[in-house]
Structures are given as C-alpha cells and as structure tokens.
C-alpha cells in the first residue's frame, strides 16, 4: 500500500469522514476532525505501519495540520529510512 493510501486509511478511521480523501488540504484541527488523543493515536498507528520509531512529543502540530502535510511528512521519513 502506498504512503498516501496508508495515511488516508488511518485518517479516515480517526476522523470518521471520507472528506479527508476528497480534500487533502482540509484543516484537520480547525474542522475538529482530529483531537489531541486521536492525533497521538494516529502518530502511533502510522509509525507502526511504516516501521518507524516516532514519539508523539517530537511532532509539531503544524506538520500534521492537513492530510497532505501528513502524507508529505511520512514520504520524507520513509525515504530517510
């Protein structure tokens, strides 16, 4: 599964709407689609799927503000290995 699809699959589950697929620039926090607990759970779920060792405390909220930003973040991390 591609990085994009993996991120969107989890994001759809945590936000409860498929709008995150339709609008990759939607403001996840502004639209209240993610709260702090859901965003930390999302970090952990994606870290596990990508085999990365991410700590929620390392991530800036701004880096996770839209689906596209999360996809970009993980594409960069996966490339780094």
């Amino acid at each position: 599964m591609s990085v994009t699809e993996t991120v969107l699959k989890h994001l759809e589950k945590f936000s409860g709407t498929d709008q995150v697929r339709k609008d990759l620039n939607i403001d996840l926090f502004g639209e209240k689609l993610l709260d702090s607990l859901a965003s930390i759970e999302l970090v952990l779920a994606l870290s596990e799927d990508f085999g990365l060792d991410l700590a929620p405390g390392e991530i800036e909220r701004e880096e996770w503000a839209t689906p596209q930003k999360i996809i970009d973040y993980f594409e960069a991390r996966v490339k780094q290995g």
Binding site: D35, I40, P56
Partner: protein, 488 residues
C-alpha cells in the same frame, strides 16, 4: 480550623511560596490571599446580605483561584465554568443556578481596582452551607448542578490528607482537569490545604503533544492527578517516564475506570511512584473509595478494584429490594455519609429521585453497577445511558436532546463506540427530515456548528451517519446494539 483559614495561613507562614503555576504566570500564597480578599470585598459591597452563587468563567488562569476563594470569603458558593463551554450552555447554567456571571477578565479588573479596608472580615460559609456547585451533563439536555457544602468538602479533604500524607509546603500537584470538572477539586484543594503548588496544564498544551511533554518535563510535579485517559495519552510517548518526571512519587486517579494496562505500564516506567485508584460521583464530593494499586493487585483482579470506602462513609452494593447483595453479586452502588451532596441546585425532582436517607445519613443512588469481593468494591458500569469518555461524565440523552434541536433533524441516536473494551468515540446516527443538496460532510459540518453552540467539544460526536430509518428491536425500540455493530 475553617478550610479558608487553613489556606490563608500559608500566606503567613510561606508568603513567597508559589500557589499556582499556569503557563508563564505564577501566583504566590501572599498574592492569592490579597487577590481573593479584594474580590471578596468587591462582592460584599456589590451584593450585601446576598449568598447567591457566582459563576466564574475562565480556564486555568491564576485569577480563577483568587476568584474561587474570593467568593467563599464573601459567603457565595462558586460555579467553576470553563471558557471552552459554548455560550448557550453557560447561559443555561447561570439561569438554572440563578447565579451572577463573572468572567476572568472581570476578575482581573476587580482585583486591579479594589482596595481592602483594614476592618475587612471574611464571611466564609458555615459548615452546612454550599462551597461550590459543579454542573454535569443532564439526561434531558439541561445540565444538573451538584451542590457541595463546606461539610462535604472538608470531610473529603480530611480523609485524603490523612491517607495520602502529603508533605506540607512541599508538593507540586498536576492540575489536568478543567476547574468545571470535579476531578480538579482533588488537586486544587489538596494543594491549597497543604501549602502545595498547583501546576496547571492548559487545553492548548494538551492539544499539542510537543508542548505538553515539554511542560510536564519542566513541571517538577510530585503528585499526578488526572483521569486515566490523560495518563494513557501521555504513556503513548515512550519518553514519558521517570527520566522525564524524576520528582513524581504518586499517581492519583479518579473520574473513570483505571485499566490494568495503564497501571502496570506506569509502575514499570515510574518504579519509585505509587499508583492510586479512586472512585466516586460528583454527588459524593469527588471520591469515596480508594486503593493503592500494586503489582499483586494487578495480577489478581481484572477489572481493578476501586477500593475501600473512606472512614465514616457507607458504600454498599444493593439489590433491587434495597438490601445489600451477597459478596460477588452485582447491584447498585449506594453511598451514604457526610460527603453526600444536599442535591441538585433548583432541581427538586431530580434531587428526590437520586438522594435519600439511609441509616440516618444522606445517601445517593449512584446508578453505577458494582459488586463486592474480598471486601473491595468493584465498578461494573452504568445502569443507564450515562457514559464516561476521556474522563468526562456524559449523558447520552443530553447529546440526543440537543441534536433534536438542530434544524432538519427528524431523529437522532448517539452511540459510544468501543475499542479494546474501552470508550473510544461518540457516533451520531441521524435521520434527516429532508435530504439537502449537500454532501454528508457538509451536512455534518453544519450540524457540528449548530451543536457546538450548545455542547462542549468533549460531547461532540466524532462521526455522523445519515440513515433513512433506524433498526428496531422486536418490541419496537431503536436497536442500539445493531447500530454499535456497524462501528466495529
């Protein structure tokens, strides 16, 4: 000694000790006494011979503490309201309690512009008078205000200060819960009564994990007071351990079920800290039972026990006939004693339904299932549609009633989605009166907007599902179990 005198005594013995840290702002005990006296003086002048409640609207600002104590010193019970509450809910609370509303900005202005005369005298509440009123979710959509008297609060404090053995003028208490949630009473008054420092984390910090962990790491917290959900959130970062918070010596939980996995992970990551589980409804002043959770307890019991009753309070599990159940048998948890509230403010019917007299003591029907085993009390869930989500007490009926006021809603049912046997999120199943030319997301966004004017964020369903009809049980009721299955 009267509790308010006990709190003020720290400004004499330790005037420079920090009473409250909130973000970059600190408040010493001397400032707390001075500011609370100013507010009391203002209230005594503005409302002579009046003891009606004062609703204080703010978040974790240091002026809120001065506000609470100022109200008490002027003989008014206070109603703590968090600024995250929507305006309509604040208005409903103020109306129900027949209260005067003061915002934190008004508190700041009063503190800045009030002089306290030399003959200033405290008019603190007598033993049976109300100290605070905390509003909880009400099943009909109108919040219920639980009155807690000075007797209730002092009785609770006497117990915990004896049991927990806090160091005088030596502890730093974590304040995670908003002041509008009675869990905060546990850290607020334990701290103020012992000359401790209250360390508040704000909702903005909680919303941004990076800030939260940084703040916790530099807090110096020695006593952790939170819901188990908040500890679970923190534990998701592997760096949350004794190394991050080396002074932490006690985790003290209330507000919801403590999962064994959370307790055991805490004991692993904080080998020098104790983990305490407590239980109690707002109606019986914060907590009524407690237990120190050890590795042995975790190995022996699932779910974990909520402990033994505090001295002087009766906690029993009753069968439908009002008699105590045999050991191991499920029934309703009943609490009777000096910590039980006089009732709901201006809600006689709700009060007479929930409160009664047992063995000459004021008693409360918790509506909680429980059982007794090995002389320990166990909480087995709710008898009705009240739920706990992230520590917040929510009546499903409260959300459903408010959903019915949203335009174009014909019928609505709210379900708590579960994940690994824990409460995960709320889902609303909605039948629309007519289907507009909009996507589901656009309809949901409009509903959230309208609902957000009435309900706090923690009561907002995460997911909205639009249906043409609800599945029903053979007797014609909405089949909630079937709706819940669709969320798996």
């Amino acid at each position: 000694m009267h509790l308010i005198e006990q709190i003020d005594s720290w400004s004499q013995s330790h005037p420079g000790r920090i009473a409250h840290i909130s973000g970059d702002t600190t408040l010493t005990y001397q400032q707390l006494t001075s500011q609370s006296n100013k507010l009391a003086q203002h209230l005594l002048t503005a409302f002579p011979n009046d003891h009606s409640p004062i609703a204080l609207l703010g978040h974790k600002q240091t002026e809120m503490l001065a506000g609470f104590l100022g109200c008490i010193k002027a003989g008014h019970p206070y109603i703590p309201l968090d600024s995250s509450l929507p305006t309509q809910r604040v208005e409903a609370i103020v109306r129900t309690a027949d209260a005067t509303l003061l915002t934190v900005d008004q508190l700041k202005e009063i503190i800045a512009n009030t002089d306290v005369p030399d003959n200033f005298k405290i008019h603190a509440p007598k033993i049976g008078n109300p100290w605070y009123i905390i509003f909880t979710s009400g099943s009909t959509g109108i919040p219920k205000g639980v009155t807690i008297t000075r007797r209730n609060l002092e009785n609770f404090l006497e117990w915990i200060l004896d049991e927990q053995d806090f160091k005088e003028a030596g502890e730093v208490f974590l304040n995670q819960a908003p002041f509008s949630f009675d869990l905060s009473v546990m850290d607020l008054y334990s701290s103020l009564a012992t000359g401790g420092t209250l360390f508040s984390v704000s909702k903005d910090e909680i919303a941004e994990p990076k800030k939260l962990y940084k703040s916790l790491g530099s807090s110096g917290v020695t006593v952790w007071v939170s819901t188990p959900s908040f500890a679970r959130l923190c534990l998701m970062d592997i760096n949350f351990s004794e190394k991050m918070m080396p002074h932490l010596r006690k985790f003290w939980f209330c507000g919801e079920t403590l999962a064994p996995e959370i307790a055991s992970t805490l004991l692993e990551r904080f080998p020098n800290a104790e983990v305490w589980n407590t239980y109690g409804p707002t109606e019986a002043a914060v907590a009524t039972t407690s237990i120190l959770i050890t590795k042995e307890i975790i190995a022996k019991y699932r779910p974990l026990p909520v402990g033994r009753p505090k001295p002087g309070t009766l906690v029993e599990v009753h069968a439908e006939d009002g008699q105590p159940t045999p050991s191991g048998e499920r029934g309703e948890i009943i609490i009777a004693g000096p910590n039980v509230s006089p009732g709901y403010v201006n809600q006689m019917e709700a009060t007479s339904k929930a409160f009664f007299i047992l063995d000459d003591q004021r008693a409360y029907h918790t509506g909680d299932w429980g059982h007794v085993q090995d002389d320990l009390i166990f909480f087995d869930g709710r008898m009705d549609f009240q739920i706990k989500l992230n520590g917040y007490r929510i009546e499903i009926g409260d959300i459903e009633s408010n959903l019915h006021t949203v335009s174009n809603v014909q019928d609505a049912v709210v379900i708590l989605a579960m994940k690994n046997e824990r409460a995960d999120y709320l889902a609303a199943f909605v039948i629309l009166k007519s289907r507009p030319e909009q996507t589901d997301f656009e309809i949901m966004r409009e509903m959230k907007k309208q609902l957000g004017e009435r309900l706090p964020d923690y009561m907002m369903p995460r997911k909205f599902v639009f249906l043409s009809e609800f599945p029903t049980t053979p007797n014609g009721k909405v089949d909630r179990a079937k709706l819940a299955e669709t969320l798996q």
